[in-house]
Amino acid sequence: MKFFDPHIHITSRTTDDLQAMANAGVRAVIEPAFWLGQPRTTIGSYVDYFSSLVGWERFRCGQFGIAHFCAIGLNSKEANNEGLAREVLELIPHFALKEGVVAIGEIGYDEITPAEERAYQAQLQMAVAWDTVVMVHSPHRDKKRGIRRSIDVAREAGVDMRKLVIDHNNEETVRDVLDAGAWAAFTIYPHTKMDSERMVEIVRRYGSERIIVDSSADWGVSDALSVPRTAALMLTSGIATSDVEATTWSNALAAYQQSGQIDVESLNASPSIDQRQLFADNSVLRGQAPRVEGGLTSLREKSC
């Protein structure tokens, strides 16, 4: 089975993770711009961060046969540093229309402050102007209200609900998102947002339409194999294969290809791994024999 993890912060993951993901069937990822665990203080940090999302991180994934897409945006936490936020908003047009940039994201609310709202609205306008999908991060605290407000403000800005993905949902928020006509994404974290068992129940109850599973794996305790693991549990729990396929591959593809930056034909073709695409002294590969394969088949991942 092949998987699309439409929310993972590759920049925080090692090549061991990339190898394990490839082995487990993860063929494509989206890396949304977010904060780095501590706030940035200068615009230059942002320039280099965005550059790495469309450059080095994409290249690194490619060496493991994983197609890397990304979302560009100013996250809600750093929106509260208003001086820096203004500069970041001016920087976004330089990156948001690039190859493989499939959304403005992850944007939205953290504390639900006026500064967060201004940054969110400004970015929604960009998304409308550029006909780009929006990936919304929903807050940890006051989540239900935050999500409702995210949807309302997006609708006011003129965002097509079919181009709106609300992430980090749970049992309490999914109905609102689906009723609005948006996509509901679920982050499978080991201890917090959502776990695989609960995810099975959500799919059992709501079906697979417009429901997306992701890992949001980052620099904290998280699991880069959340998507394949959850798929495995769904299958053994009796969820139909077509529903598993929809929630772990095709829904994410359908949602994000609306930005016109995914070469679907290329993605559906057998992935090619070419680790010759590297520099023996400074690349991800240091002295091992390079793997050159036409496709990924029968690779075993014991833990999944």
Partner: protein, 315 residues
């Protein structure tokens, strides 16, 4: 479309633009063709740096890097008139489209263009970087971009490195010796196709041979094989030390290494050494020896040695 028409010579940017546009025209779908028409006219009318950079980026919505450009022999002949025939064979369609947009800029001779292009580089993704570096050899007054091309060679992305180093007149024409030698040695490390580094044969030197021979020592001390294309770096340089290294390779290397060593000896004018060292036992080397006797020993002759990394001999 250029506001201040400069005299058009066969290899002027204007002539290159015209040829490239013609080649692209036959390949693009209607949507991409419309995009090109709109973008070229917007760029030609005068455009700020941010918008210029955005148009180059958003070309990815209309053309795919997956599609090879693949010029026909007739098209290559056309490109040769504008001295682009060494550049275009390895491009993809999206790169060709982006190079066209760069050539459409009306101020190619001016500082404003240098600044606009640098802004494109500053915010470029991997695919854009490749396209922008491929445009450099086609621009007037290339010395203006020498530092930028050096940055490209420092990239950790092999695709970007090759976009600077291979199939381009730029490095041989504009790199100083330090940058040039680094480019050559990095190509060896990466196993990037050295034979496609344009102008290599014309810019060999004792210093490059010394670096190559030091690398041979490092590899052999580590018990690792010498990449066959490394021998391309010697030319007529390296003297006794080169001959000793080649003798070892000819006797103990794998077949590709031995073939490369034989070609290197021919390049150094030392072909008689082959018989002296090997006696009559040439075996699989016969075809390569015949090739060498025909004088087919330029860098292009190393093309068929460049298949994949020499994994067989790896410990």
């Amino acid at each position: 479309m250029h506001a201040s028409p400069a005299p058009t010579t066969p290899s002027s940017p204007q002539a290159r633009f015209t040829i490239l546009r013609q080649l692209l025209q036959d390949r693009l779908a209607a949507d991409a063709s419309d995009f090109v028409a709109r973008a070229v006219s917007e760029i030609g009318a005068g455009i700020d740096a941010t918008r210029f950079s955005q148009l180059i980026a958003v070309a990815s919505r209309h053309s795919r890097r997956r599609v090879a450009f693949e010029p026909t022999p007739d098209e290559l002949a056309l490109a040769a008139a504008a001295q682009m025939d060494i550049n275009i064979p390895y491009w993809n369609q999206l790169e060709a489209l982006r190079v066209l947009l760069v050539l459409a800029h009306r101020d190619l001779d001016r500082d404003a263009f240098v600044e606009a292009l640098e802004q494109c580089f500053r915010y470029a993704d991997e695919g854009e970087l490749c396209a922008l570096y491929r445009a450099l050899p086609l621009l007037p007054d290339g010395a203006r971009f020498a530092w930028r091309a050096g940055e490209g060679c420092r990239s950790n992305m092999r695709s970007v490195f090759e976009a600077v180093a291979c199939d381009s007149q730029f490095p041989a024409a504009h790199f100083d010796d330090v940058a040039w030698h680094q480019l050559i040695m990095k190509a060896v490390f990466l196993n990037a196709p050295l034979w496609r580094v344009h102008g290599l044969d014309a810019r060999l030197s004792p210093e490059l041979a010394r670096m190559a021979l030091d690398f041979v020592d490092e590899r052999r001390s580590a018990g690792r094989p010498v990449p066959p294309q490394l021998w391309l770096c010697l030319g007529t340089h390296g003297e006794e030390r080169a001959l000793n290294a080649l003798r070892t390779e000819l006797r103990r290397g794998d077949l590709r290494g031995r073939r490369a060593a034989l070609l290197a000896l021919a390049r150094a004018g030392q072909l008689p050494k082959v018989h002296q060292w090997l006696g009559g036992w040439l075996g699989d080397l016969e075809p390569t020896l015949a090739q060498a006797h025909h004088g087919d020993v330029t860098q292009a002759a190393f093309g068929d040695l460049q298949q994949d990394t020499p994994t067989k001999a790896r410990q």
